[in-house]
């Protein structure tokens, strides 16, 4: 903690000293984008390549300069008082900053990501926390946590949430696990998770079900990562059969994102493999489809051209090209066309019989 405060102060000191000396201060950040990542399966995640941008004090940057420094100052206050502020709260704090305030939360989030990247830390270390929940868990898993007030050891049974589920907290570093499940099934939609949980699919397949709710949050990625690493469990992803499901949800789960390039190392699940829905599944299971929109096609083509992950794997290139050629996409829930539980009775058992055929 003291360490981060020291770093924050150093930034301020540097700006101050240069200004007093009559030199233009500057702030330097790693470039947060796909263009600044490299991928090798041995390392397992999107690593930073080292490009940096330097923001030198000028008319064009003075506003962002003021905002960045004020947010750094807020962070210092939070860390020193052991308090936390959500991203939304930080946005509201800026409303005190007169002309330097943020007009949209997206602006304050960007500045926050910059600061995070600048120090190479996770935002929680700066006292900032996200709004969104981490995801939900059901199945053969005991989570070892501590009681907030007494600090007593809690042993949470994830089979015993009835029609509900365990909710992944924002910080998961202190959790421990006990399980005899064979694998983790990471599911895109809450709807599919509900179906599988309701019919106790985890019992039949001996697994842990985790709902990601779209692109998995950092907490969700970190949770799956720690669980799979500690318990040596394979992770299978079950998402919609569309470019968003492949290129955003699955890719981010497995190797991280361009935007969070400075922390991907911790917030990814290199062991994850892709169960479905694959383009081939759409044909094999005669799924009802929707036509690909222009944005879908653009996303797929972009991935083929610019995403180091997809550029590495031939299998994925084939899958994306197949989808572009088919011009259609299919959702997880499309199996309901055959029967509501077709996915439980037919699709998942058939797929799980051959995990070696999963896409990397």
């Amino acid at each position: 903690m003291a360490d981060i405060v020291k770093k924050l102060k150093e930034t301020g000191k540097d700006v101050y000293d240069r200004a007093i000396q009559g030199k233009k201060p500057s702030l330097s950040f790693p470039v947060r984008s796909l263009s600044n990542v490299k991928y090798h399966p041995k390392r397992g995640f999107f690593e930073i390549r080292g490009s940096r941008t330097t923001r030198t004090f000028s008319y064009a940057t003075v506003k962002t300069f003021a905002q960045t420094l004020r947010m750094i100052s807020e962070s210092k206050k939070l860390v020193e008082t052991d308090d936390l502020a959500t991203k939304r709260e930080v946005y509201y704090i800026s409303k005190n900053w007169a002309d330097a305030r943020f007009d949209e939360q997206a602006e304050s989030d960007t500045v926050m990501d910059d600061i995070e990247a600048m120090y190479g830390v996770n935002r929680e270390q700066l006292g900032f926390i996200p709004e969104e929940k981490g995801g939900e868990v059901a199945g053969r898993l005991f989570i070892i946590d501590r009681d907030r007030d007494t600090g007593r050891r809690l042993r949470i049974d994830c089979t015993r949430f009835g029609s509900g589920a365990y909710s992944i907290p924002i910080s998961v570093e202190h959790l421990d696990f006990e399980t005899n499940a064979k694998f983790i099934l990471a599911i895109e939609t809450a709807g599919m998770f509900q179906r599988l949980a309701k019919h106790n699919f985890w019992r039949r397949a001996d697994c842990i079900l985790i709902s990601m709710g779209g692109v998995p949050t950092r907490a969700c990625r970190r949770f799956i990562r720690r669980l799979s690493e500690i318990k040596k469990l394979p992770v299978y992803a079950f998402v919609d059969g569309d470019p968003y499901g492949f290129c955003n949800i699955y890719r981010t789960l497995k190797v991280g994102s361009g935007n969070a390039v400075h922390i991907n190392q911790y917030f990814c699940v290199p062991e994850a493999r892709f169960l479905g829905v694959t383009p081939q599944d759409i044909i094999d299971y005669e799924l009802p489809t929707h036509p690909l929109k222009d944005v879908d096609i653009k996303r797929a083509k972009d991935a083929l051209k610019n995403d180091p992950f997809f550029k590495y794997y031939k299998e994925w290139q084939q899958a994306l090209e197949q989808m572009i050629e088919m011009q259609v996409r299919a959702e997880q829930q499309a199996f309901a066309k055959h029967a509501l539980n077709h996915v439980i009775d037919v699709y998942l058992p058939e797929k799980l019989a051959h995990p070696e055929k999963f896409l990397p």
């Binding site: 930034t11 009559g22 008319y59 064009a60 003075v62 003021a66 905002q67 420094l69 210092k76 002309d99």
Partner: protein, 568 residues
């Protein structure tokens, strides 16, 4: 072509057809086209059969075919003259009278003072009265000028003037008599030493002859001038196409005019002349060979006093020197000594062809008088409060042998509305044009000028949008209008090209102004950054580093200096 009765009459009074103006044909072909019908030729037997079946023969048709007077023609086609609805009729009547007054004053080198009164008698009944201080009209000419269509001094000459055909004021009178059965009243006096002559007259629409119903010599407290009074069916409305707007714009285009106006309701309006200088007297010119068509050429040849075709070319046309005449005749393969009266269609065709192939000097340009950049600009300055004004007068150019000149002016910013299409003021020979904006070459020229490069928005192919007012004036010995109501200028390539060149020059100047304004705004914005953002850097640094107030102030000052020194 069959000649109209009125045309013959006029020919005896003035050599009307002589000048070979191409528009002469356009105007009259339209009239005679209705007159000329082709009959069927058939035998008597066939005629009987046809009569039984209701089919008409040439003989039957011949009984119905008769001459149509111009007056009669215009009675039925009043829209061609701008009398198609009561609102426009009021404007057209005032306009014709005022245009005539101004032309008369300028020709007599008198600084014009024109008084206009519009009085409402009943819901849709008005009287217009226009009085000038012009040279007056001889007693003998009054009935013909006001009681006969196509009678006037301007049609036969190639000379820059407001009126052109001699239709206007008598058409206004005829409209009045048609709608109210009241005569036109004219008072005129040529000098203080002569009595004033007052006369009331109708136009016989069948014969196109004036019918004077009352005339007398009267006491008039005006020393010299003319007054015309017409009662007519009309509607008075304010706005862009109103009498008020027309008079105002007339004043704008004629800075030497003093104008007093009593509207039907409200206070009288008075515009005092800005300059005591009359516009230069436009010179009359002979037709230029490039504008002449075959029929006109033959007619001039028939009438000329020249003894041979070479002299004919040199005396009847402008810019034909002996060298040019020789060249023309050589190319046409005609002997110099040919008598002009022997010039018939085949020879004429050869000559026209030779003209097209020969380079002839452009007509003289001293025959057109611009308003002038200075006056155009001050005109706009008096019209609107804007940030920027400019005006451009082009040098004269030629279309179809007619010299013309284009002027453009614009005002930008200030109180002009921000998000509306540019307001356009159109003038032709100092006359404001209020109707048919979209059909006009001026509008077309503005819309096809690329305003985006000057920093003004422009939706594809239409008028630019922004706080912009554009005035365009075309001056010519013969302004090509799309119809006799003289509201829209025809789309000649040469004219549109000149207009665009004038507009582009205005646009370039405007572009410089807008860019300068943007640079200044940008600099201002940057300066404001120092006050807006630097204090926050100071606060952040104080919080981070526990700075004293003095230190915070110092770092802020330093940062401000750094910004001011930086270029970007």
């Amino acid at each position: 072509m069959r000649k109209l009765q009125c045309a013959k009459d006029e020919a005896s009074l003035a050599p009307w057809a002589g000048r070979g103006n191409p528009h002469f044909h356009e105007t009259f072909c339209r009239i005679t086209a209705i007159n000329v019908k082709r009959g069927l030729v058939g035998t008597d037997e066939r005629r009987d059969v046809m009569a039984e079946t209701g089919v008409l023969t040439a003989h039957d048709l011949a009984k119905r075919q008769r001459e149509i007077s111009v007056a009669e023609f215009f009675t039925k086609n009043r829209h061609l003259l701008g009398f198609d609805n009561p609102k426009r009729a009021l404007l057209s009547a005032v306009k014709e009278a005022v245009d005539n007054s101004l032309d008369a004053c300028e020709e007599a080198r008198i600084l014009p003072t024109v008084e206009v009164a519009v009085r409402q008698l009943a819901e849709d009944r008005f009287v217009i009265k226009v009085r000038d201080n012009g040279p007056g009209i001889l007693k003998s000419q009054v009935p013909r000028i006001f009681g006969k269509l196509l009678y006037g001094s301007k049609f036969h000459r190639l000379r820059m003037a407001r009126g052109q055909q001699g239709i206007g004021i008598s058409a206004a009178g005829m409209y009045g008599q048609l709608t109210t059965a009241k005569p036109t009243t004219v008072i005129s006096r040529c000098s203080a030493s002569k009595p004033a002559y007052k006369c009331q007259l109708f136009i016989d629409s069948r014969t196109n002859e004036p019918k004077v119903v009352a005339e007398e010599e009267i006491q008039w407290d005006i020393e010299r001038g003319t007054e015309v009074e017409i009662e007519l069916l009309a509607r008075y409305q304010k706005g862009r196409q109103s009498v008020d707007e027309y008079l105002y714009e007339t004043f704008l285009a004629n800075p030497h005019l003093t104008l007093r106006y009593q509207p039907p309701e409200g206070e009288p309006v008075s515009y005092e002349r800005i300059t005591e200088k009359l516009p230069a007297q436009p010179k009359e010119i002979r037709p230029h060979p490039y504008g002449v068509e075959l029929g006109a050429l033959l007619e001039i040849a028939e009438r000329t006093k020249a003894r041979n075709v070479k002299t004919f070319l040199m005396t009847e046309f402008c810019r034909v020197s002996e060298r040019v005449a020789t060249e023309l005749l050589q190319k046409a393969g005609l002997p110099d000594t040919l008598r002009p009266s022997r010039l018939k269609r085949p020879e004429g065709e050869k000559l026209i062809e030779a003209i097209a192939q020969t380079k002839i000097m452009a007509p003289p340009s001293d025959c057109i008088v611009p308003i002038g950049e200075q006056y155009l600009q001050s005109t706009l300055e008096s019209l609107v409060k804007a940030d920027f004004y400019t005006a451009v007068t082009r040098s004269p150019s030629v279309y179809r042998g007619n010299p013309f000149l284009v002027e453009a002016a614009l005002a930008y910013g200030g109180e002009l509305p921000l998000d509306e299409p540019a307001r356009v003021l159109r003038f032709a020979n100092r006359v404001p044009l209020l109707y048919q904006q979209s059909a006009c070459a001026i509008t077309r020229s503005i819309a096809t000028t690329v305003w985006k490069s000057y920093g003004v928005q422009q939706p594809g192919g239409s008028l630019p949008v922004g706080p912009l007012l554009i005035a365009v004036h075309i001056a010519s010995v013969w302004v090509p209008f799309t119809s006799e109501s003289k509201e829209a200028i025809a789309h000649y390539d040469e004219i549109i090209k000149e207009m665009k060149l004038a507009l582009q020059e205005c646009g370039r100047r405007l572009g410089r102004h807008i860019r300068k304004g943007r640079r200044e705004a940008e600099a201002q914005r940057k300066r404001s950054y120092i006050e807006k953002y630097i204090p926050h850097i100071g606060i952040a640094l104080r919080e981070l580093l526990d700075l004293s107030e003095e230190q915070e102030r110092r770092v802020c000052t330093r940062l401000g200096e750094l910004l001011e020194r930086s270029r970007s």
